[in-house]
Symmetry: C2
Subunit: 264 residues, 2 copies
């Protein structure tokens, strides 16, 4: 199917990595072939899914893949269905690379070429996967622009708190610009609340405001704050205990909604 989906927002700590990781894991457990693409130099997705430090993947990351326009030597297989293109600190040189090395190498002065590096890279393997899920850093810089341009669908990840909500407009503007100038077929699949404090009135208020302003774009599924989810980030996802089932159920509901929206 080769459906690429990115998870972004320029606000920090809203749950982008956690949603990308658990969604990748769930889709793979359902038998879909999944490539999880870490495009944040922090390497959190890499740590989450591989159980290894990003430093274990030095010089074998999405950065090398982009420089060579081929991800195949750098994809690591976590299971039959779940593959990972890791990230590590050197990826922080991505913008520098685009301007100092990639741009001078281009024959024509194509301003948009800087934004399609990741897309060209993932195109080499896109048909080999059902889903390619891309984790993005908390800013609207070159990694996010490339991530949007490489996506068939974009998920905006929200925390139901005011600063995250404030960041929505600017994210959507940026996506529109990518649609207009770089990738006319990328679409917003929806706005997901990935950390909701159930008992906080402010959380309810922000979610309500999101639903008023963005209506059916907002996913029905709301992922609540559960400490079990924090434990997965280093211990790995497990589906054994009751806290596991309560935590994963919310992400399973999201995955069902996501599949319905992207497969229609």
């Amino acid at each position: 199917m080769g459906i690429s989906i990115s998870f972004g927002l320029q606000k920090g700590g809203v749950g982008k990595t956690t949603v990308t990781a658990i969604t990748s894991w769930l889709l793979a457990s359902q038998g879909y072939r999944v490539l999880a693409v870490d495009f944040d130099s922090q390497g959190n997705l890499t740590q989450f899914l591989s159980g290894h430090s990003p430093y274990d993947f030095v010089h074998k990351t999405s950065f090398e893949a982009c420089k060579q326009q081929d991800p195949r030597p750098y994809i690591t297989s976590l299971s039959d269905c779940l593959h990972l293109l890791p990230a590590e600190d050197f990826l922080s040189g991505f913008s520098r690379y685009l301007f100092d090395e990639y741009k001078p190498s281009l024959k024509a002065a194509d301003k948009n070429a800087l934004n399609t590096v990741l897309r060209n890279t993932l195109d080499v393997v896109k048909h080999e996967y059902d889903y390619l899920l891309i984790d993005l850093p908390p800013n609207l810089g070159d990694q996010t622009l490339n991530g949007m341009a490489a996506s068939d669908w974009c998920v905006v990840v929200l925390q139901s708190e005011p600063f995250a909500f404030d960041a929505l407009d600017r994210y959507l503007e940026t996506l529109e610009a990518i649609q207009k100038h770089v990738n006319p077929s990328v679409r917003l699949v929806g706005i997901l609340t990935a950390i909701q404090d159930a008992r906080a009135a402010i959380g309810q208020f922000v979610l309500q405001q999101a639903r008023e302003d963005y209506e059916e774009l907002v996913f029905d599924t709301v992922i609540r704050r559960k400490s079990r989810i924090v434990e997965y980030s280093h211990m790995g996802i497990q589906a054994k205990t009751r806290p596991d089932r309560e935590a994963l159920q919310m992400y399973e509901d999201f995955v069902e909604e996501l599949k319905r929206r992207v497969q229609s």
Copy 2:
């Protein structure tokens, strides 16, 4: 006194802006002259302290201040004791500006000159304030490097969760590099846990690990998660109700520890 203190970590959403905002407000309420410096293009500190959207300050921000090496035309007075140097989206062009405009304008090829732009800018007014508090974005890019180089003291802001803890080493490495090459007098004042989930075992575990690895560097004060604090981000800080007193007490304890450490 002219003490500059930055609040940083490249992990998103750990509480940098909230700590910078409430610390600024508390010090000002104690009679200190405070300049709050927003150096994150998201403008969250600007929204928090001014009550206005960052877009209300277009072309009157820390970016203009840096380009002109003078913040005075752009400092806005929120009260007698609390002044703000705002930030807004155009600040995302800071790195571009450093490489495309500032660097070519330098007579000597001084690699470190790119890192001292904010310091030179704040030096113009440093003596007019007791404290200059700098809020930084969630990455180790040019704004954070400039923020560290402009600081007498750096506070690392932690959320007691694994990914934030993982980010500590790289932050401290970066600070050491700044100490070595750019600003020998900048010092780490300490590591502050700014969002602690009291009942989560993982939160206790991470805090304990921080205390084992970094010992007296870790502030004794731990700021717990309280939804009242989220409400301040748009409504402004208030000190009226019981939830206010419970929330602000933790930041007051931090401010006392901070003052002891920087004034010794």
